[in-house]
Symmetry: C2
């Protein structure tokens, strides 16, 4: 997931997540959607957030469901964990800032090259096809934007990996809602 | 929707929504799920939140999609709108605190009696059946709890209305995620 303007330093206010963070709030809600079950965490999910905002882009947060601790469902406490990761960032290596949360210097292209295996990439796009059951895909990778669609050059990178373009329905939805729905589709298939 | 311990006065901190509000934060996320589309509001949705916490329960918030204004997706700003409603509460009538947000003294039973028409009531329950398409239901009403299941006496009230018991999948989910998924199911049917 790309945070097009999401802040890349710890200098933001927990009291103004919507206004002071380049819409980091959108990503915080996506973290919630990715990992929370009722009284449990989705341990088989990994989320990569590429922060592309000022002042020191790109930075990549990697959240690993099987290792996560101290994650609560509210936006503010999650923002606090992310701020902690930005504080602990070190050039040249991936740092674990709290259990299950890692930060490093990596771009969207770096992540795409690392994760996109032939046939496993899904690009959520309003003009895509409905997701169809295909149990042969063992580790599907989903790409989505924040409150902005992917930029043309980002979309080109994705398209070059020959993704499945999928849509979830007739309405245009927030990113966190897409994640919730996609999880539910997968829950009902696997 | 029932907020079993959700605060019924304006005396809470916007900086501690998880800790100081009887889990009002759960309801705030449900407001987001109920109403937000990408760049639009679900104008055909109405949400009733019954607050049953201290110090002055019950209070009922009614949010009307077709009238809503000033609603933003983040938890904190929504909490501010709800606090404003609690400030403007008046005994003996329903007050509009901001466009599309109303507050009154009404209990869960009051709301159930008002809304539950034969065949139109859906109770989201882990042991229910999958939702099946039935286009004859024009105004479906969905009942769900917050982070707690309905209490036995609340469940009895619901059961007395002969609801359809439905489940969304094999996993136990947060209330706001249930709303997002249910909306998506309805989007794809209607």
């Amino acid at each position: 997931m790309i945070g097009h303007r999401a802040v890349t330093s710890q200098d933001f206010s927990l009291n103004d997540l919507c206004g002071s963070t380049g819409r980091l709030d959108v990503l915080l809600r996506c973290i919630n959607s990715c990992f929370f079950l009722s009284n449990d965490i989705r341990r088989d999910t990994v989320l990569y957030l590429v922060l592309q905002g000022k002042p020191d882009a790109p930075k990549c947060l990697r959240l690993v469901g099987s290792e996560l601790r101290y994650l609560n469902p509210d936006e503010r406490s999650t923002a606090s964990l992310i701020r902690n990761a930005l504080i602990k960032f070190e050039e040249g290596k991936e740092v674990m800032s709290s259990p299950g949360i890692y930060i490093s210097r990596r771009s969207f292209l770096d992540i795409l090259e690392e994760l996109a295996k032939p046939g496993s990439l899904f690009y959520l796009k309003e003009n895509g096809k409905p997701f169809s059951e295909d149990k042969s895909i063992e580790n599907p990778v989903f790409v989505l934007g924040d409150d902005k669609d992917l930029f043309p050059e980002e979309e080109e990178m994705v398209i070059s990996k020959e993704p499945h373009k999928i849509t979830l329905g007739p309405k245009s939805l927030h990113a966190d809602h897409c994640i919730t729905i996609m999880h539910n589709i997968l829950d009902n298939i696997y």
